[in-house]
Amino acid sequence: MSIIERSTNSDTPLTLDRLAVGYSARIDHVELNGDRGLHLMEMGLTPGTTVAVARMAPFGDPIEVRLRGYRLSLRLAEAQHVVIQGMSEEGAQR
């Protein structure tokens, strides 16, 4: 299984909505258009934070992520604003 769910153009940045279940990555930055991004940042999704995708809801949306020792569910539309880098498999266990 590939880390990234959908194949992507290499020059578009990778975002959290495309990270597969069981994988983790580091947040590069959150796109701040209006309040959505700020809201996510206040919930702890700040640059440098490790997030792991724990599971997906039955209809594929929303997803549940783990970060800073707690769990948060958010829709793909929100996760799209979170740009990530440095994917790995092991971080998801924590």
Partner: protein
């Protein structure tokens, strides 16, 4: 202004202490411990949606204020705004607190401290409470509270609200008057800097919104777009002059630099917190896969998740039918015996008739449903306390997004199975006004506990003794209500509340073992309301209805047909005028009177039927239970009134009609206008009539009449 050197005289003054913290961190649990009150505690974010006030036990001068939870001082929903305004003293009806107690979930320290550091920065005397220390210990983590205290600059106390550990120390800390504000905050250095911020700071200062030391923080918060959105929840309640000046400033100088400056500030705070938590918190190495994970593998599974939810609901309804039956029969028998005893004791006469056919038949027949209602409440309380509600929101979000709402709306809808009034209050946690109103408008379509007596009496009178058939019909009624609610929400979101799909960001709490004691307590508090209602509104209605059915007295002649008294009574006359309206639904005038009398509260229907059949019954007849009376009632031409089709038609009417004064009143309060309750009442009644009509006429066409 600082209370470091507060004179001793202040010791006798009333001190206001506010509890603030992230949702689900245990604020209300601590509040209950400190005050001896029993406000609702449950394991999901957004349980408390209004200010709760109480006095600390043994310290009558200390007033405690429990607030809704919030993640930051930037409110994004009504409940969070209530918390912020109470904290900053911006609400008209509360003074700014003298002491802030920040409740932090110690097992989720990093994110919880985000708000805590903001609150400390407000520069009021503050105490930080690290709650859920038991969870920290069982997971094997270690936390250095002394070090945290040094870092934050305010007292830090570890507690376990669940067991009461540390509460006494917290009590002492609150009572001692030398609580201080933090002298300096290390994390403030990087706060946002921009020209706009300088302007807002000036504005905050000239309007005297907050004391000098907190001006920087408050100004930064006021720059967040959610606050600037005038239609959003965050803006209301700011002093009008200030709000308009702020909006003016924003219009004159719109730029996205502000947002990124605020983003920088958030990032800086978390960076500081990351380092701080690394120093004070030692994460256990064995904390790998928790029990919650294992449960969630099933509870949020693609197939098993929805199946689980269905199974939970089914078990609840089965329990209501099977467990409560013996109790219900007991109460039924008691009511009958009471009536018989009253008759023999008092002898024949008008007083006896009033007591037996009015009070006992009316109130008694409603009280019979007490066990069922308790079981329903208990089930919902246990579900709410387990942590399952957030999972239901997660699983249902996909479905809800098709309707244009989000999974969070499902939590109020689920609590609506108990009662629509708290559910409508719970919509305060929904960020967006349109979604909030849409949820509010459909919440009363979910079958609430007041419909239970009607469903049960009709189902058990008309559909035999097969438990599965009875439960199946009941499930059908619940599904009907839910599906109608979703369809109406869809229509509303496409018309009146058109707007973009809302954002959905929801914390998933760990599962906790529901506390049976607390759930029983919660059940009792709610069930008590049911009994009070039976003893007041229903009692009064029963007496009035009895009088309407009893007077005028028909001349006693030997050849009068049975039921003549009722037919020619005031009630009968009114009922028969109503009959043409409801005949197409399959109802006779007695049901019509029941419908009309239950517009204020649904349970009255059962009371009315009790009174109607009580008055009608010939004195020498063997006394029948209400169920038997319903099963045997006939039209004048001898046809049965209550065929199964009529029963279904009637239940459909009750499932969809808005017959609850309290619901309408709370909608009026929450929306601030009479328009919405009127709209709600009209559309629901029209829907109920139409659906009932289709069921009855359709059923007759198919030959089921």
């Amino acid at each position: 202004m600082s209370t470091v050197h507060s004179p001793p005289a202040t010791q006798n003054r009333v001190r206001r202490v506010a509890l603030i913290g992230n949702p689900n961190s245990g604020k209300t649990s601590i509040f209950n411990r400190l005050t001896g009150l029993h406000h609702k505690v449950a394991n999901y974010a957004g349980v408390t949606v209004e200010r709760l006030e109480g006095v600390m036990t043994s310290e009558p001068n200390i007033r405690l204020l429990d607030l809704p939870g919030c993640y930051s001082l930037t409110p994004r929903s009504i409940d969070q705004r209530i918390a912020r305004d109470a904290l900053l003293g911006w609400a008209d009806d509360v003074q700014r607190p003298d002491l802030l107690v920040v409740v932090v979930d110690a097992s989720n320290l990093e994110r919880n401290l985000f708000l805590a550091t903001q609150v400390v920065q407000l520069n009021l005397p503050t105490v930080v409470v690290c709650n859920m220390m038991d969870v920290v210990r069982t997971r094997g983590h270690r936390i250095d509270l002394a070090r945290l205290e040094a870092k934050l600059g305010v007292p830090v106390i570890g507690t376990t609200a669940a067991t009461g550990e540390g509460i006494d120390r917290l009590r002492d800390a609150i009572a001692s008057t030398d609580t201080r504000a933090a002298s300096a905050c290390a994390w403030c250095a990087d706060d946002a800097k921009s020209p706009q911020l300088a302007a807002v700071r000036e504005l905050v200062r000239t309007h005297g919104l907050i004391d000098d030391k907190a001006v920087d923080l408050v100004s930064t918060l006021l720059l967040v777009p959610a606050v600037l959105d005038e239609s959003g929840p965050a803006c209301a309640h700011l002093p009008p002059a200030f709000a308009s000046a702020l909006a003016e400033l924003h219009r004159a100088n719109e730029s996205s630099d502000e947002v990124s400056a605020i983003g920088q500030a958030v990032h800086a705070r978390y960076r500081w917190l990351g380092e701080c938590v690394a120093e004070v918190f030692t994460r256990s190495a064995t904390d790998v896969i928790t029990v919650s994970d294992r449960i969630d593998r099933v509870a949020t599974h693609k197939v098993l998740g929805p199946v689980c939810f269905g199974a939970v609901m089914l078990v609840m309804l089965l329990a209501i039918f099977s467990w409560a039956t013996p109790l219900m029969d007991g109460i039924d028998w008691l009511v009958g015996a009471l009536g018989a005893a009253a008759s023999t004791l008092l002898g024949a006469g008008i007083l006896t008739d009033l007591i037996v056919d009015g009070v006992i038949a009316g109130v008694g027949n409603v009280v019979v449903f007490f066990p069922q209602i308790c079981i329903l409440f208990l089930f919902i309380a246990l579900l709410e306390d387990s942590g399952y509600m957030a999972r239901v929101a997660f699983v249902m979000d996909g479905l809800m997004s098709k309707v244009g709402l989000h999974g969070k709306s499902f939590i109020p809808l689920l609590s609506s199975f108990a009662c629509a009034v708290p559910a409508i209050l719970a919509t305060r946690t929904i960020e967006n006004r349109r979604d909030r109103f849409a949820t509010m408008m459909v919440a009363p379509l979910m079958s609430c506990s007041a419909r239970l007596p009607i469903y049960i009496i009709l189902i058990s009178a008309l559909f035999g003794r097969d438990l599965w058939l009875k439960t199946g019909i009941m499930v059908g009624m619940y599904i009907l209500g839910t599906i109608t609610a979703l369809c109406v929400a869809l229509v509303l979101k496409k018309t009146l509340f058109k707007g973009p799909t809302p954002t959905f960001v929801l914390e998933m709490p760990p599962y906790r073992r529901p506390r049976l004691g607390a759930a029983l307590r919660n059940t009792w508090d709610r069930a008590k309301l049911f009994l009070t209602q039976a003893g007041s509104v229903i009692l009064a209605m029963s007496v009035v209805l009895w009088a309407l059915a009893y007077f005028p007295q028909a001349p006693k002649t030997a050849d009068a047909p049975p039921g003549e008294q009722l037919r020619q009574s005031y009630m009968g006359r009114v009922g028969r005028t109503l009959e043409p309206i409801i005949e197409p639904l399959g109802f006779d005038w007695k049901i019509g009177v029941g419908l009309a009398s239950s517009f204020a509260a649904r349970e009255v229907f059962v009371a009315t039927m009790g009174v109607v059949y009580g008055v009608e019954e010939e004195a020498d007849e063997e006394s029948l239970t209400l169920r038997e009376q319903i099963a045997t009632a006939t039209w004048p031409d001898g046809r049965k009134v209550f065929t199964p089709l009529v029963g279904v038609s009637l239940m459909v009417f009750y499932a969809l009609a808005c017959q609850c004064m309290s619901t309408l009143a709370v909608v009026r309060r929450e929306t601030g206008s009479w328009g919405w309750p009127v709209f709600m009442f009209t559309y629901m009644t029209a829907l109920a009539y139409a659906a009932s009509f289709v069921v009855y006429q359709g059923g007759k066409l198919l030959g089921w009449g």
